[in-house]
């Protein structure tokens, strides 16, 4: 059980960092919408369309590390079964 909890914690950390890096390593807050600029040819105006897109940020990393830390911490309180 100890090992399982610690393994899950490690997987969470590695997975979160990998996902964060793969989606652009956003150093700001997590985004659920991103702006896309569109140009109106007649007026030359630049409009903004908001697109649904999840982009994890530092708060996502912090949450993952916190979760992994809690799991790892709990593992220290789990009694090892005596053989």
């Amino acid at each position: 059980m100890k090992k399982t909890l610690r393994l899950i914690a490690a997987l969470i950390v590695v997975g979160a960092i990998a996902f964060w890096a793969a989606t652009g390593a956003n150093h700001g807050w997590t985004k659920t919408h991103i702006p896309k600029k569109i140009v109106d040819q007649t007026t030359g105006l630049e409009g903004v369309q908001w697109q649904d897109k999840f982009v994890p940020g530092v708060d996502f990393l912090a949450a993952a590390l916190l979760g992994a830390g809690i799991l790892a911490g709990v593992s220290f309180f789990v009694r090892t079964k005596s053989k």
């Binding site: 150093h27 807050w29 919408h33 702006p35 109106d40 007026t43 105006l45 908001w50």
Partner: protein
């Protein structure tokens, strides 16, 4: 003499008819009209935009300085990338979108009007209303009159377009938005931009 006077009167009347002020509607069926905002914050600057633009402006191409109008932005249409930030922004502690559903600017006076071709620049003085607080502001604007271009933007419609661009700055403290609070997290200074086009169908 009578003939000369009649001709002169006719020419004057024709000029007045051609120079008649037009009313432009800024509700945009293409969803391009937008108001942008930017505030400094510790981790990253807060950049957002609002698409719920509406309002009317009466503009006379022969007398741009006589322009009058009011532009309104729906508070609930303000968007930022982070959902928690947006929730806080629209909440009763910040913009209170439920109680104050509109942000508006109503012009009163145009000064320093300069026209070159289709483009007019001016300093517009008017009333800016945000979170129920109204303040007089003077804002530099650029207006571009696009005669007979409505059909290019909206199929099967004839008419003219008026493009208005403006950039100005406000302080949230002046509008009772968390005055003196969280200034280390959310800047007091807000940069605003307006990029809008109005239509005057014929």
């Amino acid at each position: 003499m009578k003939t000369k006077f009649s001709v002169l009167a006719l020419i004057t009347l024709a000029g007045v008819a051609l120079a008649a002020p037009q009313t432009f509607d800024f509700k945009d069926p293409k969803g391009i009209n937008n108001a942008g905002f930017k505030l400094d914050a510790p981790l990253e600057s807060i950049n957002g935009s609002a698409s719920g633009v509406s309002g009317t402006v009466t503009f006379d191409p022969e007398n741009p300085g006589a322009t009058i109008g009011k532009i309104t932005v729906a508070t609930a249409s303000l968007m930022v990338p982070n959902p928690m930030q947006r929730q806080h922004m629209l909440s009763d502690k910040w913009l209170d979108a439920a109680k104050f559903p509109e942000i508006s600017f109503e012009s009163r006076e145009f000064k320093n009007v300069q026209t070159s071709g289709d483009t007019t620049t001016a300093d517009v003085t008017g009333t800016f209303t945000l979170k129920g607080v109204s303040k007089e502001l003077t804002v530099p604007v650029k207006m571009t009159y696009l005669k007979d271009k409505l059909g290019q933007r909206v199929p099967n419609q004839n008419g003219d377009l008026l493009v208005i661009r403006a950039n100005f700055t406000i302080n949230r403290t002046d509008f009772n938005i968390m005055p003196g609070q969280f200034e280390d997290k959310v800047s007091d200074t807000i940069d605003l931009t307006l990029s809008i086009a109005g239509a005057s169908p014929k």
